[in-house]
């Protein structure tokens, strides 16, 4: 019987192709919008996760201060000292590499070109911690680090803006009035988090401290956690060690903070996920509107086909069969709309994803849910008109003009 009902529904739909299409247009647009939004949103989330992971996995960033948005007043908490780095190296287990960082901004000049960039004073351990590779040249020698020699490794953005097509390795350029030799070029990393990771000049930390910052302060320490250890456990012992070293009393707040890159990644992907959900919710409203559209047309259709319903009832259709006929018609319509919508979403996502520079990820679950949802809309919004059709009196229905 259900097969027959579906046959009837298809006949009725095909009898009015244009109207059927217009009826289901709301569903088509709604499903297409929701699925496209979610697909692109998932792509964006994946892209963000990819970018963050390029910051380095399992890295703890140790900074002075209480972290974002806390401890506004009071004296500025002290920076770290070289001894802190040594202490972390010697006293903490599960640490793969420890790299101090002292940053300053500077303008680099080479012949006619100049470029504003960030100078990153650190050690060779930095490259190991971040797992940064070189395109050409070499890392700092231990004696260069020790002596704080004027050598540097530059990122690709700096290379392009300063040296253009010239191979920079071995060339001298001026930075903050000091001459510096390029010994290596970093492999391109791309956008990471909020900044261009290739816009940097990496120099021995001792050079940066002596010539630029004028003290022995370290503004950040990178601690790379060994894969065999739990990041959270290492983070806890790092915090404990720093509390001891910075002589923080029991119950007092830390005057430093440890940031887990994984945490940042989770936070940011969480944000994009929420954004995706909001946009999808807005798009879902159009699905609802589409459902009301179906109900509207089905009600018109019931009125228009009153005589047909009368004929069916006279011939011997029971009320539930008429109800099923109209209900199935609504469901078939909304399912067809759902399928067309999914197809459009597929095309739109494949077309738009490259423009947004996010990967196209086909999510079976999202497509399935959207389809089932469109079917459910058919049930919900088809029921009322169908019940109205089934309740018609055959005599009145037959007399209806």
């Amino acid at each position: 019987m259900l097969g027959t009902t579906i046959t009837l529904a298809f006949r009725a739909i095909m009898r009015h192709k244009l109207r059927s299409f217009l009826t289901t247009l709301g569903i088509i647009i709604g499903v297409a919008a929701v699925v496209t939004m979610v697909t692109l949103g998932n792509g964006a989330t994946a892209a963000v996760r990819e970018q963050i992971s390029s910051l380095g996995a399992n890295i703890l960033q140790l900074r002075p201060g209480q972290g974002f948005g806390r401890g506004g007043g009071g004296p500025r908490p002290p920076n770290f000292k070289p001894q802190d780095v040594t202490a972390i190296e010697n006293q903490l287990t599960g640490v793969r590499a420890v790299a101090p960082q002292a940053q300053t901004s500077a303008t680099a000049i080479y012949e006619g070109s100049n470029w504003s960039t960030t100078v990153n004073g650190t050690t060779a351990a930095f490259f190991e911690a971040q797992q940064w590779k070189l395109d050409s040249g070499r890392l700092f020698m231990p004696e260069e680090e020790e002596a704080g020699k004027a050598v540097c490794i530059i990122g690709n953005t700096v290379r392009q803006n300063l040296f253009r097509n010239i191979d920079p390795v071995g060339k001298q350029f001026r930075i903050k009035g000091v001459s510096c030799q390029v010994i290596g070029v970093l492999t391109t990393r791309g956008q990471g988090g909020f900044q261009d990771q290739d816009d940097t000049v990496v120099m021995p930390i001792k050079f940066v401290q002596r010539r630029f910052t004028g003290d022995r302060d370290i503004s950040m320490i990178l601690v790379a956690v060994d894969d065999a250890y739990e990041t959270s456990a290492v983070q806890a012992s790092l915090e404990q060690l720093m509390r001891e070293r910075r002589k923080i009393k029991e119950g007092d707040q830390d005057n430093f903070n440890v940031f887990d890159t994984k945490q940042i990644s989770d936070t940011l992907t969480g944000t994009t996920t929420i954004l995706t959900q909001i946009v999808a919710a807005v798009a879902a409203i159009s699905l609802l509107v589409g459902g009301i559209g179906i109900m509207n047309i089905m009600l018109v259709s019931v009125t228009e086909r009153t005589r047909e319903i009368g004929i069916r009832l006279a011939i011997g259709a029971v009320a539930s069969e008429v109800l099923m006929q109209f209900l199935v018609e609504a469901i078939v319509l909304s399912c067809l709309g759902g399928l067309i919508g999914l197809f459009l979403a597929l095309i739109a996502s494949i077309a738009i994803a490259p423009l947004m520079q996010v990967p196209f990820i086909f999510d079976v679950r999202v497509n399935l849910i959207a389809f089932l949802f469109s079917a459910a809309i058919g049930v919900v919004f088809g029921y009322f008109p169908a019940r109205r059709a089934a309740a018609l009196n055959p005599i009145d229905a037959l007399r209806h003009e």
Binding site: M1, T4, L8, R11, R15, H16, R307, E308, G310, I311, R312, L313, A314, I315, G316, A317, V318, A319, S320, E321, P394, I395, L398
Partner: protein, 233 residues
């Protein structure tokens, strides 16, 4: 001559509305219709003949009185039970043909079989056979808009007889047709009555059409005024 009554009305009344605006359409109708008869129901409008036909067609129930159809008390059946009764034993032909538009003749004829749950092959065979009976086999794939009035009424008759009903109810079947087509339809109904053993109940206000019937029942003011023999045999 058939004598066994297939339909039996006793003291049937029908009241529309209630209170001071109530209208009594039937005031106690007694009527027996023999199996295999061809009955023409006549009477001026408002005489209760349409109401009677609705009740006989199990589309409506009497306000009081009893309606025996093949021994079943129809007045006690609910809506769906009456629908099943129609599906099984009754065929309908209407003045306005009442075919589904944009639907081929065959699909129209198949419709009652669909509700009987027949499979596609049976539907097609029986549908074509019914169309053949009314002489429209070559027109099976035409929609109502592509058929003349007479042809449409033949399709409607094919739809009514495709389930081989016991009773065919025709409500002014020639009302929308010219006299030539009307005679053709009446000849078709006569043939079905004679050769297929279908009891035919027909409402008409044209004496020429009523003449085809074997029995003519006349209504007046909600009562049966008279029953006489027609010219059909």
């Amino acid at each position: 001559m058939p004598t066994d009554p297939i339909i039996s009305l006793r003291g049937v009344t029908k009241v529309y509305g209630s209170g001071p605006t109530a209208f009594q359409a039937l005031k106690g109708v007694d009527l027996d219709i023999a199996r295999g008869d061809f009955v023409a129901v006549m009477g001026p409008s408002g005489s209760g003949k349409s109401t009677t036909m609705n009740i006989l067609g199990c589309l409506d129930v009497p306000s009081a009185g009893s309606f025996l159809f093949k021994g079943h008390h129809v007045e006690t059946l609910d809506r769906d039970q009456r629908a099943l009764l129609r599906r099984k034993y009754l065929g309908f032909v209407f003045q306005g043909f009442n075919l589904l538009s944009r639907t081929t003749a065959l699909e129209n004829v198949e419709l009652p079989l669909l509700y009987r749950g027949e499979d596609r092959k049976t539907r097609q065979e029986q549908g074509m056979a019914a169309l053949d009976k009314v002489g429209l086999k070559p027109w099976w794939d035409h929609t109502p808009a592509e058929l003349s009035g007479g042809q449409q009424q033949r399709v409607a008759i094919a739809r009514a007889i495709v389930t081989q009903p016991d009773v065919l109810l025709a409500d002014e079947p020639t009302g929308n047709l010219d006299s030539e087509r009307s005679v053709e339809i009446m000849e078709l109904l006569t043939d079905l009555n004679k050769n297929s053993g279908i009891t035919v109940l027909m409402v008409t206000h044209e004496p020429e059409m009523a003449a085809f019937a074997r029995t003519i029942v006349t209504f007046k003011d909600g009562l049966v005024e008279g029953i006489r023999k027609g010219e059909g045999n």
